[in-house]
Amino acid sequence: MRTFANFILKEIYHITRDWRSLLVLICIPVIQLFLFGYAIRTELNEAEIGIIDRSKDYITQEITNKLISSGYFKLNAYVENEKQIEHLFKNGTVKEVIIFEPHFATKLEKEGKASVMLIADASNPNIATLVTSYTSSIIRTYQLELNSKSIKANTIIIPEVKMLFNPELKSVFMFVPGLIALILMLVSALMTSITITREKEMGSMEVLLVSPLKPQMIVIGKVVPYVVISFFNSMTVLALSILIFRIPFEGSFLLFTLESILFIITALSLGILISTIANSQLVAMIMSLGGLLMPSVLLSGFIYPVENMPLILQWLSYLIPAKWFLIILKGIMLKGLGIEHLWKETLILMGMAIFFLAVSTRKLKIRLE
């Protein structure tokens, strides 16, 4: 045990002496969190709009107020004529222009209908779709209010869409669990595969293997500090996302911790597996980035929903540990699910952990003896 402590101490020297890498290791998760939290958003936040109001009556005024008070839109300018629209879009300041036809209120009262035109800058199709659907949804809500106030009940049924678990459709809620999975994968798999291959590259691995230390001990000794770091990282991300992004944490913290440890073990065994194959740090890095991180980002449902992918990719995604971990994390954090609902995913993850651990220790023995 003393020998083992000695080994860990040496590993801690390695990590702390190289303070630049340590800084990167600790800062990257935080930077990623802010990037994903603020920069990459799929919801609207004060999108600037222009309005051409040819009616200027109380109803168009009310609709405008509703739009602006929703928090999704910000009024950039009242536009006088349609010729200015193109100019506004070209400047890129305005995402959408709303045109109310003349005599809007009177038409609505007498004919029961009035039209409003939404023009969006579709050079960014995603934003254009979002902007128009948010706008029409707000107008629809307003229409409902009007109907309920009027004496003759309107029979048009308007479907009401309700977003559960993430009512405001905040994308950061989706990113945080994915980010935790990504960070654990990055630090556990990438860093362990690099640190083990570094010993191989330097020739010190041979010397260690000739010593009475058991190969398993060497690997565990090298891996333990990184487990601590990656666990610390996931806790930082979790704390920041709760404090700053107000992400809900509905479920059990204990379950979250246990599932994270399970995922860390899976990622570590993958890292060890890579280090038994790769003979240089560079190869180890390419293998972990290309072979583990990319699939984890693309196929886990972290950014792109797996359900929309071709069938082959969907099958492939079943092999990605991060996919199952993500389902578990989202379940715990957003829905407050317990193990009784997540046992299937946990079992799959556990199976993967055992499989990769068995293969990597087997590989290790073959390589070393």
Partner: protein, 248 residues
């Protein structure tokens, strides 16, 4: 080396990688306190042979014992009684001299008291007392090599395996390095050394020359030179390697 106690016994040791035979049925004995030179061109099978003896590689067939222990079954015991320094440099660059010493001493199970005692002794011997807290990467290569050797024998092994320990080092430092080897041999340690430098072969008590996986010659440098009618070990080596090339 007036001692007939065998510490390494090798009989028909063979290692194959697929169809390629890297080490082809070699046999030799090494005696206690001897400096045994293990020579051969690149790819002759030296490193494979060493790896089998120190327990990094399992032999395909044949017999071998190191310090009285069987390489197949008792590799864990062997590890405790040998020291090893590889051709690639093995001290950690980002650790200080003292940290390297206590790390290697620690993995061989030395106690804290033993470690600090050995560290002081070693630093004093190498005149590095004032550099104890300097990082290894600040040392010149020659010093690193000497330190690596001292670290390799810190746990008091009876046999030391050196795989091209002096690669890339200037002649003066090489000479100093060999003084350390002699000193260890005087202390009854057996030295098993591979080298590319033929002048170093002259320093050995006996040398074996490996060509294409086989041991072509094994004797003291003096006997080998007279047998092959040469003035230097270099000539002996070239004759043996050429003979084999003509045959092949």
């Amino acid at each position: 080396m007036n001692n007939n106690k065998k510490v390494i016994e090798v009989t028909n040791l063979t290692r194959k990688f697929g169809k390629f035979t890297a080490v082809d049925s070699i046999s030799f004995d090494v005696y206690e306190g001897e400096i045994f030179g293990f020579l051969g061109a690149n790819g002759a099978g030296k490193t494979t042979a060493i790896k089998m003896l120190i327990g990094l590689l399992a032999p395909t067939s044949g017999k071998a014992t190191v310090a009285g222990c069987d390489v197949y079954k008792q590799s864990e015991q062997i590890k405790k009684s040998i020291g090893y320094m590889s051709q690639k440099f093995s001290l950690y660059e980002d650790l200080t001299i003292a940290e390297n010493i206590s790390f290697y001493a620690g993995i061989y199970g030395l106690t804290d008291g033993q470690i600090s005692e050995k560290t002081d002794l070693l630093l004093k011997k190498l005149n590095l007392e004032n550099s104890r807290n300097e990082l290894i990467k600040s040392l010149p290569l020659g010093w690193k090599q000497k330190l690596a050797f001292s670290v390799a024998i810190i746990h008091g092994p009876s046999i030391v395996f050196l795989d091209e320990p002096t690669g890339g080092v200037d002649p003066i430092t090489r000479r100093q390095f060999w003084n350390l080897i002699y000193e260890a041999a005087d202390n009854k340690k057996t030295i098993f050394v591979t080298t590319h430098y033929m002048d170093e072969a002259e320093y050995c008590d006996r040398v074996s020359i490996m060509v294409d996986g086989k041991i072509e010659a094994l004797d003291s440098p003096t006997n080998l030179k007279s047998k092959y009618d040469s003035y230097t070990m270099n000539d002996v080596f070239i004759q043996l390697a050429r003979k084999n090339q003509v045959q092949g």
